[in-house]
Structures are given as structure tokens and as C-alpha cells.
């Protein structure tokens, strides 16, 4: 089978987020870049599906040229080939992004290498539009399941499960299909050194796309108020034990 997975280069925030002076983007001076945990699971799933069923996997991104780094990361985990759709340095909205990704899929279809499954993260960790997967599916006329945390693929059918409250919803869709996944789908592997070196040697296909007018535009970013987390020092050494036990009881770790 052929699996295609879409990823997005995003800044890896961990500490306090700093905005650019114009408030339109995140200041990435101190940040590295990567892909979201959802997408790491999508990549892992693609690799596993091909390991199990044979076939090939392709990673695709719409992003700046520096997104080569993320494509190579995906390939270091075992993805076979990569496509970079050049967006320049501008952030594209969900409509343009979905159209670009759909055209990449269509190109594969035209080449006679139609994917059976298109995997995406459930949402981008930075813009959080929750739209791209659905828009791509609509453009392609494929079924789409979002928020998936379990996935089984066999005989032209994908069975996808997702959480709904405390229940699990189960969808069975015929392939080709679009599935957007969430962290927890699997436990992604780390890149091995040989994987990294293989990825380094692989060619990346470059594509162009047209940016279109969007329904949504970014006006301004605003940092939400901090949670005001506090650290309480319970004590040091043996003196801390009584209070520690109290806290463990309060939090339900120990029976009361």
C-alpha cells in the first residue's frame, strides 16, 4: 500500500512563549523547529503500515525551504520519499494549505502512484485551525476520519477509532481515505543514526502551489494569562515525609 503523511514545520515551544514585536508571530530566536506529537504519530503509523503491508510511504509538507529539516526527520524514521511544496517564508492559511496538499496527492494519482491513505495530525500545533485534513478530503472526494487514536488497515478498508467522551467511536471507511490522528495512536520511535544518514542522502521533490485568498487571516497573537502555577517546597530530607504523604493522599495517589 501507499501511505502519504502530511507534516508542518513549527517552532518547538517549551518555555515561556515570546511574540515578535509586531505581535503577528512567535519569536523563534531561542527555539528549535520540529513537528507536532500528533504528526510524529502519523509518521510512525505510516512507517508501520508499510513495514506490515509492504508498499511505500511519502511525507509531504507545505513550508519554507528550511522544512527540509522536518522532511529529513520523517525520512530518518523510515519514510521513503519526501515532497516539499514551497510556501516561501509566509504562513499560508488552511484553504491554501489544503489545496496545495490535495494537488500533491492528485499529482501522485496522475503518476499512477495514488496513495491509499493520507495521514495528518489532527491539528497544527501553532495555528490550530482543525481544517486542513477535512479540506483535503473534501477536495479529493475521499472519506475522512478525524481525531483518530487507533487505526487498523486491511483489504481496502481502514478501521479508525477515536475517543468521544468516555466512549470510543469506531469508523470503517473504504480506501483511499484521509485520517487525522492524535498523540497516543502509537509510541513513535527515535531516529537511529543509520536512519538519519539514509535520510540525509535522499532527494526531496520540490513542488509549487498557488496561494489563495483565505477566509481567515491572522490579525494579532495574544498570550493567554499564565496559569499561575506555584511550587511548594515540601521540605528537605526526612522532614519532608509527613507532608509528602499528606499530598499523596490529597491527590489520590495513596488511599486515604
Amino acid at each position: 500500500m501507499r501511505v502519504m503523511v502530511c507534516i508542518k514545520r513549527v517552532p518547538l515551544v517549551g518555555g515561556k512563549v515570546v511574540l515578535s514585536p509586531d505581535g503577528k508571530e512567535v519569536d523563534t530566536k531561542f527555539l528549535g523547529f520540529g513537528i507536532s506529537p500528533h504528526e510524529e504519530c502519523a509518521v510512525e503509523e505510516a512507517v508501520r503500515l508499510v513495514e506490515r503491508n509492504g508498499g511505500s510511504s511519502t511525507v509531504v509538507t507545505l513550508g519554507p525551504q528550511s522544512a527540509v529539516e522536518q522532511l529529513q526527520f520523517a525520512m530518518s524514521l523510515g519514510i521513503d520519499e519526501a515532497i516539499l511544496i514551497d510556501s516561501g517564508d509566509e504562513e499560508w492559511g488552511p484553504m491554501s494549505t489544503a489545496a496545495a496538499l490535495a494537488s500533491a496527492v492528485s499529482e501522485k494519482v496522475a503518476e499512477g502512484a495514488a496513495p491509499d491513505l493520507l495521514l495528518l495530525g489532527n491539528e497544527a500545533p501553532d495555528s490550530g485551525d482543525y481544517q486542513v485534513g477535512i479540506r483535503v478530503a473534501t477536495a479529493l472526494g475521499w472519506p475522512c476520519v478525524t481525531g483518530v487514536k487507533e487505526l487498523d488497515v486491511s483489504d481496502g478498508t481502514a478501521v479508525a477509532r477515536r475517543e468521544h467522551g468516555s466512549e470510543m467511536e469506531m469508523f470503517s471507511v473504504s480506501l483511499p481515505a484521509v485520517v487525522t490522528v492524535k498523540e497516543g495512536l502509537n509510541l513513535p520511535r527515535y531516529p537511529s543514526l543509520p536512519g538519519r544518514l539514509r535520510a540525509k542522502g535522499k532527494k526531496i521533490d520540490q513542488m509549487k502551489a498557488e496561494r489563495m485568498a483565505e477566509g481567515l487571516t491572522t490579525l494579532q497573537l495574544r498570550l493567554p494569562a499564565e496559569d499561575g502555577r506555584e511550587t511548594e517546597l515540601l521540605g528537605t530530607g526526612v522532614d519532608a515525609v509527613p507532608r509528602l504523604i499528606e499530598v499523596l493522599r490529597e491527590t489520590g495517589v495513596l488511599a486515604r
Binding site: 517549551g14 528549535g32 537511529s192 544518514l197
Partner: protein, 839 residues
């Protein structure tokens, strides 16, 4: 956490391994009110200690660094945080194998074990290594790993237990108050002000930023060192502790592989230099991991991954082992790669204890504590003295450039004379363009470009054929030319002209000048006006602080002339001792005066052609100075010599220096005058005259009796170190500085090899030698003596071996060469009666 005190003896800023250790040592030495502040949380406030690889190879070519490391290991062991693993450096090139021979010699000199290994033997220790890509190795059994965070915590807690230490975590320094050039208090971001006698900056990569608050500089630059951690490694699955296999340093690729539990940590010093301005280090809040663990830049590491994979394919090639952690870790690099320790020259009471690796940190802290409390240190720290940097070496641009250039030298084979390529030509004497035209090979010292030899003297090689030395081995001949020997002989036969503009010159004036100078100098300084006195300066323990010449210019005026290399260290010593009553002023006249040395049997003829002054032997005696007219320039002529010849140091106003050089050069042509470089001045001429050099023979670890520089009588006036000096004189010396000749230089391979310095002196059977104070005998200086046709080395020897004609050996590049003591104590193999100098 403690309440914020309003006063402290010492405020230590930075609770990494250095700050914690400093707190402990200050407490141990009797300080009772110490405050330790860090902006981060304890025990890991986010500095470089927190991400350090924590392994220690206690072998270096530098004696100071080896001693720091050995002491640090002892401290870590005492704290119970040291795990011995052994360490192996592997070679992929023949040049590296030669370097291992040199490393083994250094190990032996400083008392460490080292064993050469074949590739198969390396594999015996490290079964997962690919022995096909290496051609040998060197094994250091003493190598180990430490828990530096735990060590810091234990030391901090011990200082607290002693009741000497308060600790403030999560508190940032907002300012350092300075009054009258002395630190008075620190201010915190919480609005507290803590009065302090001393403030110690132990802030690693942030040190420059904190120092700047007080108007001081700490010349280091945060530099990235990339590390990855790969796991799980199947072979390490059963490892009980942290490490079971020796640490491997893959020297020729600039990398190390170090087991860390179930993972293999791979670190690199081979990637492009990546420097981060202190201002560009993220705050604790903004940092994703920690401020000193920056996002990994994969593309910089890719070439190193290939090398690592090639060396350890079995474990790093395992597809199931992944890169679980990868960082661009920050380390602190100074322009010369050595630590920056000591009181800052800008602000009294403000101390730098920075640019340390884990491997030496507790020792650097101990040394700083001793210095802060007692003024002297057990380990000779002069090479790491923060005062060593000249103002231009403290500029951001200089520090950054040298940090960048120095980074890739971390595992490189660095020749003892290797020159930096960056920030050159900063300080040029007025004669520079003339020297350049003469084909000078410039070596740099503290920014000065100094001719080491002159290409224009190449024709002398023919004139002195058979008397100049040859060095067939490339290593020995690197940064060297036989022209040095030819220049030397031409100077001895005729006359040489030497540019000595790098001298540091301090003019001391005022009614208190005599007693001030007397207080610092070992020699009697109450001499007639116009006398020039060579004298050591001692520290309070009676070791060498400096050696220099002092001219008595007037009853209330002295001119101090010292080598440029440690000019700023010496200046701080003089400035620190100035009386508070204003009776003495010190003016740094270094940039006002250049110095031209004119020496050789025809020196009087040469200078005589340009002056009407009476410079006859009777009228201008050795050891005196006077103003003379050199053509149309008044110059201060000082009749002394570091090359053992008749002649003068001519002190010329900097702006007239080129003119003076031209006058001398032109007048010298009929006399056969040659320009002479530092190769002669600092080595060949010096060594055959037995002259001692600061930093080589003269260090705080040795005293004037041992160096043979004590006077027949001790002056009655008090001086720094006098009490210790009197004790030294009352006891038989533990060592005596000797000159030895290398009897044969031909190696087993038939190629002559030469010691270049720091090689170990051994008995004829190859046993190391040390004196009753435990100090090893090693080559302090080495060089050919063209006048006598011998290769000489200098070394301190225990008295029973410091006997003329005693036969010993020197180890050099893995082989032993016989040497013979030719001068026991102070003396010269050439012109021992100093007749030439006094002619």
C-alpha cells in the same frame, strides 16, 4: 532557603559546580559569612554544569591544567561521586600516534599512567569498537565520570552545615555596587542590597554579563558543543551503574563516545564553531530545556554522526537505538582556552572563577578560595590569572574570534608554538613595516607581532653552514627555522638588532617610590640614579611572582620593564601594592616607548657611529642606563643584556622608533649587523647563557634559592615574601635548576628528535624523578645553543642529581635520550664569566 542577609564576607554569584565548591572551600578556610546566589532553582540552576558530560581525562600537556584535574579528581573521590571507568583515545592517523607518544610523556611528567594500545588491544577494552578504522590507542586508567550536580550539592550542604553559608536560589543579580574601584555590595532583583567585601562571579557563560554590572570584563564567550544521546543500547542493558566501558575519544574526528547507563553519549568538538553572545542566551523561563541547552542544529552534527557510526557500528548502527536527546550545549571559552581566575584588574574585591570544565572545577574553586583568603595558591595559577588579558584581548570581537578559532582545537594536535590565525596584527611596533620587508616570520604575543626570525637572513645559512642545527622531523621543525641559529651566530660574531617593543613599561614616581619599590623587589633597590637592577618579585610564600628589570631614573623615579606576556599580571601586582596615601604614582608607559636591543661584539661600534656620547666601557658600565642622543633622537640606553652580549636596550619614543631602527640598520650595514628575532632572544641566546624565563623556570612553585637567583645577602629592608625567603635560605634547597646537554638525539628510527619543552626528565633507567616536595623534574626550556653546538634543556633536579656531569635521560616522543648536567645551578655553557657582556 535563607533570609536575605544584609552583609556578607563573600557573595558568590552562580551555584554551579564552581560556585558550590567555592562556598565550601571558603568556609573551610575560615570565611563565616558567605552568600551563594543563583537565579535558577537548586540543585540544577540551568548553567553548563547541568548538561555536562561529566567525564575526566586527567592528562594534559599543561602542568597547571593537569594539577587542577588531579586535585579535582581527589575532591570528587572524597565526596564519593567519582566512578573510574578508564579512558581510551584512539588514533586514525600517524600524526595522532605521534601525539600519543607526546601525551604519554606528559602523563609521565605529571604522574599519570598511560599505555599505548594496538587496535586489537583497544577492542579488548571496548568490544564494540570497529578496530579497522583506527591504527592505535592510548589508555588512561585513571579516567572516570563524576556526578557534578551531586558534588555541588554536597559541598554546598557542607558549607551550610559549618554555619558559614546562606543560599538564595531563584534570585537574580540586578547590580553590583562599586565605590572607589572597590566592590561594596550586590543588589538583587528582589530589591535587596547585600554589602560585601568580595564578590565572586562563578556564572559560567553568563560571567561576562554579570561582570559588566561592575564595569569589569571576563573575557570568555559562550560556545556550542553538540551532544547526542543514543539508546537503548542492547549491550548496555545489564549495566548496573552509570558506566562499565572505558570512555572513547575519537581524537582525529574531534568526538567522544561515553556510555551513560543504557545510552551512548556522543559529543563533538568537530562541528563548525557556533558562538552565542551572552545577551542571546535565553532566560530560564524562555528556554525550552535550559538556558545552556539550546536547540540542536542537526545539519552541524551530520558529518560527525557518520564518523561515530563508523567507529561503533555495532551499537550506534542498531536501528532500534534512537537519538533520544540532542542539544547544542553551551560551554565557556576564553581567548587562550584556559580558565579565568582571580581578582579582576578593573574592580578590587570582584573575583572571576570562570571558564572551567567539570574536570577541574573543584580545584579551580579551591585555588580561588586560597587566593581570596591567603593571597597565595597551592597550584601555580599564573597562566589562568584573569589579569593576563590586555584591554584589546577583552573586547567582544577578540574574545569571540579566539573562542571560535580555539573551539576546534579542543581535540586537535596543537604544537606548543602554534600561532592563532584570527585577530592578528593588533599591536605593531613602529618597525613593523621594515620587519615585514625583511621577511620576518611573525609570532604573536599578547597582540604584538614579533619577528621570530627574518627571511632576509637566509644567506647566513651558507655563512654558518655546519654550525646551524637541522631538524629532520617535521614536528620539531614546525614553527622553526635554522635561520634562528644563523642569526644567533651573526649576532655573536658581529651585532644584532632586536625589536623588543612588546616590553611592558611602568614609570613609578613620587616621594614614596623608593620604599614602594623596595617593598616589592628582592634586590636592593636603593641604588644610584642610573643603575639598572634585575630582580625577582616574590609572592608572600616566597615563590616567583615576576622577574624584571628596574631602572633608577631619579631619586624619586623608577622605570619598571617586564616581559609583555605577563605585563598586565605584573601591572596588577604593582597597582595593588601602591600606597593609599598617594605618595607614589604608576604610569603604564608601554604604548609610549618601543625598545630596540643592540647586542654583539660590534654593538659599541654601531651605537658609537650614531652618538657623540661616551659609551666606552669605563664611561658606560654594565648595569647602568643613561640618556644619549642617537642621531637626532634622544633615547634611554640601558646597558644590560638577556642574550649575554655587549650592548644596550634603547628606549625610544614609539613615534620615533622607525626612524631609530633605520638609523641603526643603515649604520649597521658596514658592521655586518643583522636583524635578530625572538627565536634567538627568547631561546637560543638565553639558554646558552642559562638565563631563566618567567613561566618556564620561574614560577610561584619555585623559589630564588632553587633557581639560583638569590643574592649573597638579604637586604635589611622588608619586602613581600621576605620571611618565606629567609626560611628558604636557611634550608637546603629541595631542587636546583640545572642546564643539561642532550648527548644524542638520534631516535631508534634513525631520525634525530628534539625535546621542545615539558618533557619528563628520568633516570638512565627511565624512572621519573621528583624532589622531596614531590615536584617532578621536567624540561622547563629547550633549545639549541649554536655557540657551543649543543642542544640544551633546563630542569630542576633534586640536589643529589644536580651535580655536574650527572648522567640522566629525557623522554621525548616515546623514546629516551641521554642527557648530562652541564651546569648545576646558575651558570652558562657559553661565556660563563660574562666577559662579553662586560666588554
Amino acid at each position: 532557603m535563607s533570609e536575605v542577609p544584609s552583609r556578607a564576607d563573600v557573595v558568590i554569584v552562580g551555584a554551579g559546580i564552581v560556585g558550590n565548591s567555592l562556598a565550601y572551600h571558603l568556609a573551610r578556610l575560615g570565611k563565616t559569612r558567605i552568600l551563594l546566589i543563583d537565579k535558577g532553582p537548586l540543585p540544577n540552576p540551568g548553567g553548563s554544569t547541568g548538561h555536562a558530560s561529566n567525564f575526566i581525562f586527567p592528562v594534559e600537556h599543561s602542568k597547571m591544567m593537569t594539577r587542577f584535574t588531579q586535585d579535582a579528581v581527589d575532591q570528587y573521590k572524597a565526596l564519593g561521586v567519582f566512578t573510574q571507568s578508564g579512558g581510551i583515545e584512539v588514533a586514525r592517523t600517524e600524526e595522532r600516534l605521534q601525539e600519543f607518544k607526546r601525551r604519554a610523556v606528559s602523563a609521565k611528567a605529571w604522574g599519570e599512567e598511560a599505555y599505548h594500545l594496538s587496535p586489537a588491544e583497544v577492542k579488548g577494552y571496548v568490544p564494540y569498537i570497529n578496530e579497522d578504522v583506527i591504527i592505535g590507542g592510548i589508555y588512561f586508567p585513571a579516567v572516570g565520570v563524576v556526578d557534578s550536580l551531586r558534588a555541588g550539592t554536597l559541598m554546598r550542604e557542607e558549607a551550610q552545615r559549618m554555619g558559614a553559608l546562606s543560599v538564595l536560589g531563584g534570585t537574580e543579580i540586578a547590580g553590583i555596587d562599586v565605590e572607589g574601584g572597590r566592590v561594596t555590595a550586590v543588589r538583587t532583583d528582589g530589591g535587596d542590597r547585600i554589602e560585601a567585601e568580595m564578590v565572586a562571579i562563578c556564572c559560567g557563560v553568563w560571567s561576562p554579563k554579570v561582570a559588566r554590572m561592575a564595569g569589569a570584563t571576563i573575557p570568555l564567550y559562550p560556545t556550542v558543543h553538540q551532544m547526542i544521546s543514543v539508546g537503548p543500547i542492547a549491550r548496555f542493558a545489564d549495566t548496573a551503574g552509570e558506566i562499565e566501558f572505558p570512555i572513547v575519544r575519537d581524537m582525529d574526528t574531534g568526538m567522544y563516545e561515553r556510555q551513560h547507563g543504557g545510552d551512548m553519549e556522543v559529543g563533538s568538538y568537530a562541528h563548525r564553531p557556533i558562538v552565542i553572545a551572552p545577551e542571546d542566551i535565553p532566560s530560564i523561563e524562555e528556554a525550552v530545556l535550559s538556558p545552556t541547552e539550546l536547540p540542536f542544529t542537526q545539519e552541524d552534527f551530520d558529518p560527525q554522526m557518520r564518523d561515530a557510526l563508523e567507529l561503533m557500528p555495532e551499537i550506534l548502527g542498531d536501528e532500534r537505538a534512537g537519538v533520544r536527546h540532542a542539544i547544542n550545549g553551551l560551554i565557556s571559552l576564553t581567548p587562550d582556552g584556559l580558565p579565568a581566575i582571580g581578582e579582576t584588574p578593573e574592580v578590587r574585591g570582584l573575583w572571576s572563577v570562570a571558564a572551567s570544565w567539570i574536570k577541574e572545577a573543584p580545584s579551580i574553586a579551591r585555588t580561588a578560595a586560597e587566593w581570596m583568603v591567603a593571597g597565595v595558591t597551592d597550584i601555580d595559577v599564573h597562566e589562568a590569572d584573569i589579569a593576563r588579558f590586555y584591554p584589546h584581548q577583552r573586547t567582544v570581537s577578540h574574545v569571540r574570534a579566539r573562542a571560535e578559532e580555539g573551539f576546534n582545537k579542543t581535540y586537535a594536535i596543537v604544537h606548543p608554538l602554534e600561532q592563532f590565525e584570527s585577530v592578528r596584527s593588533v599591536r605593531r611596533s613602529p618597525m613593523y613595516s621594515r620587519e615585514e620587508a625583511l621577511g620576518a616570520e611573525f609570532f604573536e604575543t599578547v597582540g604584538w607581532e614579533r619577528p621570530q626570525w627574518y627571511g632576509s637572513n637566509a644567506p647566513l645559512l651558507e655563512e654558518y653552514a655546519g654550525r646551524v642545527s637541522s631538524r629532520p622531523a617535521e614536528w620539531d621543525a614546525r614553527w622553526w627555522s635554522p635561520i634562528i641559529d644563523a642569526e644567533h651566530l651573526a649576532m655573536r660574531d658581529r651585532v644584532g638588532i632586536v625589536d623588543l617593543s612588546s616590553f611592558a613599561v611602568f614609570d613609578v614616581r613620587g616621594p614614596g617610590a623608593l620604599s614602594y619599590i623596595q617593598h616589592l623587589a628582592l634586590a636592593q633597590m636603593d641604588v644610584g640614579v642610573g643603575r639598572v637592577v634585575y630582580t625577582p618579585l616574590l609572592d608572600v610564600a616566597g615563590g616567583f611572582k615576576a622577574d624584571l628589570t628596574i631602572m633608577r631614573m631619579a631619586s624619586d623615579e623608577f622605570r619598571v620593564v617586564t616581559g609583555g606576556g605577563l605585563g598586565m599580571v605584573d601591572k596588577k601586582w604593582f597597582v595593588d601594592h601602591l600606597p593609599g596615601d598617594g605618595s607614589v604614582t604608576l604610569f603604564d608607559a608601554t604604548s609610549a616607548w618601543c625598545t630596540i636591543g643592540v647586542w654583539g661584539p660590534r654593538a659599541r661600534d654601531l651605537v658609537g657611529k650614531l652618538t657623540d656620547a661616551d659609551i666606552s666601557a669605563q664611561a658606560f658600565k654594565y648595569g647602568t642606563c643613561k640618556w644619549i642622543e642617537l642621531g637626532d633622537i634622544p633615547v634611554l640606553a640601558s646597558r644590560i643584556s638577556y642574550v649575554g652580549e655587549l650592548g644596550w636596550e634603547l628606549y625610544v619614543p614609539m613615534d620615533e622608533g622607525a626612524h631609530a631602527w633605520d638609523l641603526l640598520f643603515e649604520a649597521g650595514q658596514p658592521l655586518g649587523a643583522v636583524p635578530v628575532g625572538m627565536g634567538v632572544y627568547a631561546t637560543t641566546a638565553r639558554i646558552e647563557k642559562g638565563y631563566r624565563a618567567y613561566g618556564n623556570e620561574l614560577t610561584p612553585e619555585y623559589d630564588p634559592v632553587e633557581a639560583g637567583l638569590h643574592r649573597r645577602v638579604v637586604k635589611k629592608e622588608d619586602f613581600v615574601g621576605k620571611r618565606a625567603h629567609l626560611v628558604q635560605r636557611s634550608l637546603p634547597p629541595a631542587a636546583i635548576l640545572c642546564t643539561l646537554s642532550v648527548d644524542t638525539s638520534v631516535s631508534k628510527g634513525g631520525v634525530p628528535r628534539f625535546p621542545l619543552g615539558k618533557e619528563v626528565i628520568v633516570t638512565p633507567d627511565g624512572d621519573p624523578i621528583s624532589d622531596r616536595k614531590g615536584r617532578p623534574s621536567y624540561v622547563t626550556s629547550a633549545g639549541f645553543a649554536p655557540s657551543v653546538g649543543q642542544y640544551l634543556v633546563m630542569s630542576y633536579l633534586p640536589p643529589e642529581l644536580a651535580v655536574k656531569d650527572m648522567r640522566l635521560a629525557v623522554e621525548c616522543m616515546g623514546e629516551r635520550y641521554p642527557v648530562t648536567v652541564v651546569v648545576a645551578g646558575n651558570g652558562a655553557v657559553f661565556d660563563p664569566e660574562n666577559e662579553r657582556m662586560r666588554a
